[in-house]
């Protein structure tokens, strides 16, 4: 299902992930969030930006527990737990936050 972002039509797959990751811009996250009735706050953006930095650095999306640990280290202990992250991203930080951040769709590799 395509989404409209700043007048451009962007392709997404069945689960709403960007078809072309190069299409990502901050407005993409806003549009995706709105579609899932989620209002992006500064706290959301803190995580989204961190995910993008992590991906840029290491070329992978971090596992949830690696993300949790890293967030705790960087943004304070009160944020470094899965309760906080799931509070922000109820569909799961691995799935939902990575989607908003324009990271590759997880393979479901558990």
């Amino acid at each position: 299902m395509p989404i409209e972002v700043n007048g451009k039509t962007l392709e997404t797959d069945e689960e709403g992930y960007l078809a072309d990751l190069n299409d990502w811009e901050p407005a993409v996250a806003e549009v995706m969030a709105k579609l899932e009735d989620c209002e992006l706050t500064d706290e959301h953006w803190e995580i989204i930006n961190y995910l993008r930095e992590y991906y840029e650095e290491y070329q992978i999306a971090p596992a949830v527990r690696v993300l949790t640990k890293a967030v705790g280290k960087k943004m304070g202990k009160d944020k470094g737990n899965s309760k906080y992250l799931y509070g922000l991203f109820p569909y799961g930080p691995g799935k939902q936050a990575c989607k908003y951040a324009g990271l590759p769709k997880p393979t479901g590799c558990v």
């Binding site: 069945e14 393979t107 479901g108 590799c109 558990v110």
Partner: protein, 130 residues
């Protein structure tokens, strides 16, 4: 004893799949338990039911399916490796918007964690590959 087997190459190109099959048959005959067969890398190609070898050659895929049915084998295909190489079950086909699935009977698609888990739960892991 509990064995797990990992297969890293597809059928026909490399002997790995044949060697693994012969090993597993021998192990079962000796009364050992095969707790899981894990297909990784090009090994996932062992799981496509679209394989149609010449009639006078062994059908490697069917042979796996039959062995699995006879001995209730847990044959797991790595999802990430399968996605790269176009192996899909019904759920994967739906999830990725594909117009068909091609997994052969007896195989299931699951995560890499199944390989690590097999290592934890078995007494030996034997890897066949290139």
């Amino acid at each position: 004893m509990k064995f797990a087997v990992q297969i890293n190459e597809g059928p026909y190109t490399h002997q790995a799949s044949d060697s693994a099959y012969n090993f597993i048959v021998a192990a079962l005959e000796k009364g050992h338990e095969i707790i899981r067969v894990f297909f990784y890398h090009d090994g996932v190609n062992n799981a496509t039911r679209f394989t149609t070898p010449p009639q006078d050659d062994r059908n490697i895929v069917t042979r796996w399916s039959e062995l699995a049915e006879k001995h209730n084998l847990d044959m797991v295909v790595c999802v990430a490796a399968a996605q790269r190489r176009g192996i899909a079950d019904e759920g994967e086909a739906k999830r990725n918007g594909l117009d068909a699935d091609n997994i052969a009977p007896g195989f299931r698609i699951s995560g890499l964690g199944q390989l690590v888990e097999a290592g934890i739960q078995s007494d030996r892991v034997v890897v066949f590959g290139d």
